[in-house]
């Protein structure tokens, strides 16, 4: 009998009919009830942990193939985070699965109530190319922890990782309920035409809209992890050496800027800019040496299309003229060096679109105030960063800037904390995950209310006498006194 995993993994000729068969299979798997037990969920997660341990070398090799990702980054940002997500879920899952008792009020006395988490059913996860391992497995871990059957469509722009998933995931998990579908636009379209119980998409806003529009046909809830221009506001009262190191590792240390939470641009005051630029240059040289294109610690640009997209951002003379550091490019190897630009025109393309690459514009204003206004004039980003020692500025920043998440005096770290919801707002996305938020994202919280047959209130029912109406008012407003008075016949008339 043909190995069903191979059949789907091939991706060739995967049309609407094949997608329907895939979904039907997953529905049958889910309907059997197997995904709901703690044992099944734990077995899958343990399988994934084993997979990560056994195949660490292969995973790093695939990431290197797809992105020239330095092994350290692959370990730090993909492998260990994926493993941490699994072990955290394994540790907490029993607790998450327990119904949550909630208090009830006089209105429903006597009664007991609880909130029961149940899987939504059959889930589709569409992943991105920049952290192709993590962003595929992380939502899948959440879906499994919540007891769902899941189909994963890894990004075709990271083909080595995609095909690695197709090969290894079925070996370590239950094939009937966890499937990998490889492919590009036609295959994704075929999948999106099906009815899912939830769709989880990581990527850009343009495709996010396509996913949500497709989901609307079936009224399927979606989670969209998108991007945006993550600003970094740098105040003058900081330890500038530490600040630039933290900014640099969040920018170029994260896939050479190709990360949704990477600092996109910096804002600072005109007076502080020279100090900041100087410190940044020193940091960059320390990290990547005098010839960054030769450094093994920088990812390459993922493909020629994105390479051209990034270099064309510098086509505008008004933009390229502001380069104060870097700018080296190697088209053959798809490498672009860390590049600093000082005061590009606000209306240039590089300041309109998410850069997603190693170019870092620094925009200066006279006052820090103006920097805040600038941030708020743009779409809400996935993350916003502030470097300062001024507590008042910190408070203002937290109060007035809206973003998916925020860090004060560091960058990118928040996504590693499983107690923080990770997700966007506005253009940067819908929904959040990580830790328990992943479990919740793929669960339905069912309200269960239990009553007995005592405590009947005839006041609820017709015929509606004035007496009954008084009692009703007391009951609904939870007022014991009103209730008693009403029963006793007060107020009269």
């Amino acid at each position: 009998m043909e190995n069903p995993a191979e059949e789907e993994a091939v991706g060739v000729g995967f049309d609407g009919a094949r997608a329907a068969v895939l979904v039907a299979g997953l529905r049958r798997g889910f309907a059997s009830g197997r995904t709901r037990s703690y044992e099944w969920r734990a077995a899958q997660l343990k399988g994934i942990v084993r997979m990560i341990d056994d195949k660490e070398a292969e995973i790093m090799a695939a990431l290197h193939d797809d992105l020239a990702k330095p092994h350290m980054e692959s370990y730090l940002h993909e492998i260990s985070l994926a493993k941490a997500a699994c072990t955290f879920a394994l540790k907490e899952m029993k607790r998450w699965m327990k119904p949550e008792k909630v208090p009830t009020s006089i209105t429903t006395f006597p009664s007991s109530a609880e909130i029961v988490s149940e899987p939504v059913g059959v889930v589709l996860v569409i992943s991105a190319w920049n952290y192709p391992f993590l962003l595929s497995i992380d939502p899948v871990i959440g879906a499994i922890a919540a007891g769902n059957a899941v189909a994963l469509k890894p990004s075709e722009v990271a083909p080595a990782t995609s095909s690695l998933f197709a090969t290894i995931l079925p070996k370590y998990t239950d094939n009937s309920c966890v499937k990998v579908v490889e492919g590009s636009i036609p295959e994704t379209t075929a999948l999106l035409e099906q009815k899912w119980d939830k769709i989880f998409y990581t990527g850009n806003g343009k495709v996010g809209r396509i996913v949500m529009t497709a989901a609307a046909k079936h009224l399927t809830p979606v989670a969209l992890e998108l991007g945006g221009k993550c600003p970094v506001l740098v105040d003058s009262n900081v330890n500038v050496k530490v600040a630039t190191k933290r900014i640099a590792v969040g920018k170029w240390g994260c896939n050479n800027g190709q990360a949704c939470v990477a600092p996109d641009y910096i804002l600072t005051t005109k007076s502080f800019a020279p100090t900041l630029v100087d410190a940044m240059k020193k940091t960059l040289e320390k990290f990547y040496g005098k010839d960054p294109l030769e450094s093994p610690d920088l990812s390459r640009i993922v493909n020629a299309k994105h390479f051209r997209r990034l270099t064309s951002l510098l086509d505008d003379e008004k933009v390229s003229g502001t380069i104060v550091y870097g700018g080296q490019q190697d088209e053959k190897h798809l490498k672009i060096a860390p590049t600093l630009l000082l005061d590009v025109p606000h209306d240039s393309l590089i300041m309109k679109e998410e850069i997603f690459g190693p170019l870092l514009p620094i925009i200066t204003f006279n006052e820090v105030e103006d920097c805040l206004d600038f941030i708020n004039s743009k779409a809400k980003p996935l993350a916003a960063y502030l470097f300062t020692k001024d507590k008042r500025l910190e408070e203002r920043f937290v109060k007035t800037v809206s973003a998916g998440g925020m860090l004060i005096n560091d960058t990118a770290l928040h996504l590693a904390n499983p107690h923080l919801p990770f997700g966007g707002v506005g253009e940067s996305g819908i929904g959040a995950y990580h830790g328990k938020f992943s479990f919740d994202s793929f669960s339905h919280k069912k309200a269960v209310l239990s009553r007995g047959f005592g405590g009947e209130a005839p006041a609820r029912y017709p015929p509606y006498t004035p007496q009954k109406q008084k009692i009703l008012r007391g009951l609904i407003n939870g007022s014991i006194i009103a209730l008693l008075l009403a029963i006793l016949g007060w107020p009269r008339g």
Binding site: R36, M72, Y75, L76, A84, S105, T108, A113, I115, V116, G121, D197, G205, R209, M212, T213, A215, A216, K217, L219, P221, V242, K245, G253, S295, P296, D297, S402, M406, L407, I408, N409, L413, H414, N417, H419, L420, F422, V425, G426, E427, G429, H444, K445, K446, A447, V448, L449, S450, R451, F453, R460, Y461, P462, P463, Y464, Q469, L472, I476, N477
Partner: protein, 479 residues
């Protein structure tokens, strides 16, 4: 309203929101208090409007709409400060000194579409949540309940901040124009057909939506040995069918599942209860309009369905009145057993064993609520574990709607997004993750260049292996 008018309203509200006024505790509190006053002072106006739109008796109007709103706004006022307070989250010791917290913030400008059956309740309930969360709001009540719509258009600006909370009246064309604008959240109560249109429009702006739909909510009626229990149970079923808005209610009992042998007992008790509740029919709401009246009469027109009517069945197209009607085992492929009834017709479906009700329900789209009347613990556990619905209520009906501690919303075909109580506040908020660090304590092995010696350090960090990390830092362990 002209499209310029709608766009103008949307722009006005957005400018108002951007002033930051709606974010303060003071503003939110003042609006909720104003809503409280509206609910007390305008009671007569609400009763009149609901009587006009639906023939609702004022007791019903109070029980199902006004009273519920008073409860909800009181609950929001009591808890508002607590909800607005950021909450701390644990951070690993390794990240010391770091402070993590979740900061709720308003989404911005919210669009609320409400439905015609509880036109005031379902307009103002989400409004309470949106205000508590600090948003500016545009509310579009259903044009099918024009008196209530006009009531809201008149009284909301009278009591609330008319720059930040606006009511826009009109039909589908106005709805369409509203959907062309950009909102930060859209809350929709109504049918799946329109919900699809709303979500597709929202997708263009990546606007998150919540859709409160319906479905066929069943009541499982197990055998109850005590006659008193049976009486109470049936009253509660009647209380979820004809009592609220003549069955035009999303959490009503759509149909009942019962074992064949107990069907006669159930039917007798239903008839007795109907007689007790409705000596006259003036306590019954009417059908909203001719279109729905036609829809409902068509459900029982089919001869194979009409033949199963065992009680009621009379219709009056002049007064849009349909008598409480009970059917026994209509054909399962008839429309009445496939579409949400949303009216005063109650099919009773008999089964060989009551446990078969679980399979019956699972074979159909997930409903907004499942009701089950049973004292059998095993059956209860099975229903809880093996069926899925927005809510599940044992031994009563409707009342889960009044629980502020329970989330209210659908799943699958019955919708997504939950509200009531704090869930309303959360639904209209963005929960922002904030991590605060200082410049102390730098771990240089975080940074490039990625020398080989750094990896073992990072492994210790990620395993939260503080001892090994310390040893490494002290140079007492390598490799």
């Amino acid at each position: 309203m002209e499209s310029v008018g709608v766009e103008g309203v949307a722009n006005e509200v957005r400018t108002d929101y951007e002033s930051g006024k709606t974010r303060s505790l003071a503003w939110r509190r003042s609006q909720l208090k104003a809503l409280q006053r509206l609910l007390y002072e305008e009671e007569e106006g609400m009763f009149t409007a609901l009587k006009q739109d639906l023939g609702k008796h004022q007791a019903e109007a109070y029980r199902d709409e006004v009273g519920i709103l008073i409860k909800s706004v009181n609950y929001a006022l009591e808890n508002l400060k607590k909800w607005m307070t950021p909450c701390r989250v644990p951070v690993p010791l390794l990240a010391f000194p770091t402070r993590g917290e979740l900061v709720p913030e308003p989404l911005g400008v919210v669009l609320i579409f409400s439905s015609w059956n509880f036109p005031i309740g379902l307009s103002l309930e989400p409004l309470i949540g949106a205000i508590a969360a600090g948003n500016a709001i545009v509310l579009k009540p259903s044009e099918l309940a024009p008196a209530s719509s006009n009531f809201l258009a008149k009284s909301v600006p009278k009591y609330l901040d008319s720059m930040s909370v606006k009511v826009v009246r009109g039909g589908p064309d106005v709805g369409q124009k509203l959907l062309e604008q950009k909102w930060d959240k859209i809350f929709f109560t109504g049918s799946s057909r329109v919900a699809r249109i709303v979500m597709a429009a929202a997708a263009k702006h990546l606007t998150p939506v919540a859709v409160e739909l319906g479905g066929k909510s069943p009541a499982i009626f197990d055998s109850l040995s005590s006659a008193r229990d049976r009486k109470v149970a049936v009253e509660r079923i009647v209380g979820a069918k004809w009592v609220p808005c003549s069955g035009q209610v999303c959490i009503g009992v759509d149909y009942v599942l019962v074992e064949e042998q107990f069907a006669p007992i159930l039917i007798d008790q239903l008839k007795a209860t109907l007689e007790k509740f409705y000596p006259r029919f003036d306590c019954l709401s009417r059908i909203i309009n001719e279109q729905h009246f036609q829809r409902l009469s068509n459900l029982i027109k089919d001869p194979s369905v009409a033949a199963t009517i065992i009680h009621g069945g009379s219709l009056d197209s002049e007064t849009l009145f349909i008598e409480p009607t009970i059917l026994l085992d209509p054909p399962l492929d008839a429309e009445i057993m496939n579409e949400e009834i949303f009216g005063p017709l109650l099919p009773i479906i008999t089964l060989k064993k009551i446990e078969d009700s679980i399979e019956f329900i699972r074979a159909r789209p997930k409903p907004l609520v499942i009701y089950a009347f049973t004292k059998d613990e095993k059956l209860r556990s099975r229903i809880t574990a093996e069926t899925s619905s927005g809510s599940l209520t044992f031994n009563d009906t409707m009342i889960q709607f009044a629980c502020d501690e329970l989330p209210f919303g659908g799943v699958g075909g019955s919708g997504f997004g939950q509200y009531h109580g704090k869930f309303s506040f959360d639904m209209f908020s963005h929960t922002k993750a904030v991590l605060r660090r200082s410049f102390l304590l730098e771990f240089t092995f975080r940074y490039p260049p990625w020398d080989a010696w750094k990896l073992p350090f990072m492994r210790s960090v990620y395993h939260f292996d503080y001892v090994t990390l310390l040893l490494r830092l002290l140079g007492l362990k390598r490799g």
